[in-house]
Point group: C2
Chain length 392, copies 2
């Protein structure tokens, strides 16, 4: 074992963050937690601070920082407490981390994740927006700083593992698997009237509402196609999606000699988190073992792009390039929120996205400010489309 690694967790009180701390517990004393960044769950953050003793902690806002200081007052652990986006960035830099787990959800995670990449640390990427909205920027800054980007979602993490079986130029195709969501097998016309409750009933993973709807529309997989493009420098034609309802094969790589390498495992977020935190080592951890004989059967099918046009739209955004993925992502967030609120139907989600893409951009570039502008513009257009009400 190498010496203890200094770790900063961006988003320590979320589901990825708390799973990461479980991994840290199992692998003690492999890690020294030097920085924690969280949003509104200040009580949990205070508990984490007491337990892991970071040098610096960032809260979502000034009020949170005040509450955290009060909770820690008189206790044995007195880290520096900062707040906001600037605080999060400070936490990354001051911790001088070997590894950063970038797990702040949504656009709020962008700037701190970029700051992490710029330190040259190993960055476990669990923030989808980092690559979907600002993929080129992240990859360019990583190349400049020497940072290693390690994907933490199970599909890209699987691809990362499979790629080790050959050289990059020997790869023919990346194949991301998809559970297919709760509406797998339904035809387009059967999807018009699905309810929010039906869409939230995911067969395999228990996740937040937004991501569960993305899984039902297959936009989740579309965003992953975009991530894979940047993460692995793969052309749009080199990335396929394969529906695999059991979620055991986490993804596959086809090499040019016809050999296909797959990564399999019990669905458990702690596995890819641990892989990212301990890379390039593989260590015994807390993940359950896979028993294929007990599972018995694995099935595979092509995705239905007619019933799930969001996947095709993501490919389209990737072909358009530039800020199109950022605009796709923004339009999708607005549309999903409107669907969850009962303001539009399920099939309106791709309609809103398609029209938003057509009516916006391309913007003025790919630096973080320009991408944020493109995001805001797309949200405005998508909201005006949504306020038209249900069209399905």
């Amino acid at each position: 074992m190498d010496s203890s690694r200094r770790l900063v967790i961006l988003g320590s009180t979320g589901s990825i963050g708390t799973s990461a701390l479980e991994v840290v517990d199992h692998l003690a004393p492999r890690f020294e937690v030097v920085g924690l960044v969280a949003g509104r769950r200040v009580e949990l953050l205070a508990q984490q601070v007491t337990r892991y003793r970071p040098r610096i902690v960032a809260c979502g806002d000034e009020d949170g920082a005040r509450r955290l200081r009060a909770l820690l007052d008189g206790g044995p652990v007195r880290p520096r407490v900062v707040w906001g986006e600037r605080g999060a960035i400070e936490a990354v830099r001051e911790g001088e981390p070997d590894v950063v787990l970038a797990a702040i959800v949504g656009a709020a995670g962008l700037a701190p994740t970029l700051a992490a990449v710029e330190t040259g640390a190993t960055v476990g990427l669990a923030n989808k927006e980092a690559l979907v909205v600002a993929g080129r920027l992240m990859v360019e800054r990583a190349a400049a700083s020497g940072a290693t980007l390690l994907p933490v979602d199970s599909e890209h993490n699987a691809i990362h593992q499979c790629l080790r079986s050959g050289r990059r130029e020997e790869v023919r195709r990346l194949v991301l698997t998809a559970s297919g969501g709760p509406f797998r097998g339904r035809a387009r016309e059967e999807l018009a009237g699905v309810s929010v409750a039906e869409a939230l009933d995911h067969p395999t993973w228990s996740m937040g509402d937004k991501i569960t709807i993305d899984s039902a529309t297959l936009m989740n997989k579309g965003l992953e196609v975009i991530e894979a493009h940047f993460l692995f420098a793969a052309d749009v034609g080199e990335i396929d999606v394969l529906v695999h309802p059991q979620s055991i094969v986490h993804s596959l790589v086809e090499f040019r000699d016809g050999s296909v390498i797959a990564q399999l495992g019990v669905p458990d977020m702690r596995h890819p988190i641990q892989y990212a935190l301990t890379w390039p080592d593989r260590v015994a951890g807390c993940c359950p073992r896979l028993d294929l004989a007990e599972l018995g059967t694995l099935t595979f099918e092509q995705p239905d792009l007619e019933a799930f046009p969001c996947l095709a739209l993501a490919y389209e955004a990737l072909r358009l390039g530039g800020d199109a993925p950022a605009r796709l992502n923004a339009a999708n967030e607005v549309a999903v929120e409107a669907f969850l609120d009962g303001r539009i139907g399920f099939l309106d989600i791709p309609r809103v996205i398609e029209r938003t893409l057509a009516r916006t951009g391309p913007g003025r570039g790919e630096d973080l400010d320009a991408l944020r502008d493109a995001d805001r513009q797309a949200r405005r257009v998508a909201r005006s489309l949504v306020s038209g009400g249900p069209t399905a």
Copy 2:
């Protein structure tokens, strides 16, 4: 592409050898065929000599060499023609190969394969006996000469590919897949009366009679467990067998972090042959592409050790160590031959092997002569058991 590799094929007229020459055709001018070694199929060998122009050719016996010289007489290609085991060894050495494909079937392949290993070349191992009978010897000589051993059967080749995704000490378990043979799912009592014709009806691969029966008894998989032990320095407890009737997942490796890496592909012997010949490169070749969505379903189950005791016997031979695998292999050859001749029943095969193991050895060591003695002794004992006639 690196410069042309000098290739010697031991067993060029067999099914592996001819497949290897198909690979060579597809990948020209990547290889220069410098030596060919074959047994009795002299006409085919003459055609190969005319086409690939090796410097040296070895036939099975003196008569074959005479016939080959006559067939080549007056033609444009005049290689040195030698014969017998000594000739095969000469062909390996004189060719100064970068790569040797060791694909002579049975005990006859042992000495030439060992000679190949001693040259320090990359050796594609397709001769089962090399590792089952003389595994320790092969591995020790490879370590001494610097030879790289690359398995050519699909299971070990798959393991080799999967192992690239981590370090050797990070491996928890090797999992060899098995089609399960024609009698998969049958209980022990249903197997007593099976006919030779039934046993020869293999569901996936078309192979020779001996290996097809080995597949029906699962001894084939047992021998592969022994091979895996030597090839990958894996303890007997680290090697598992998983029945997978579709033969698409060629084998798997479980790492200690719980991650399972699998290699998949269309069943086609040319793939592992090409992998071994071009290693460490992966190149586009002649193998068909895998379409998992079209296949649809993959299934997995535990092997039934009660119905198929040959697999348990192979593990037992590995636990006994020394020359026990050589004696197991010899007894199995005698028993399978007797079954194919209708002299014993299907369930007598493991009985003959078990009794032979109990009544022989351990012999006087693990050099090639001692192992050959152990082989002969086991054959004698097995034959006397077989001559007792059907006991099932």
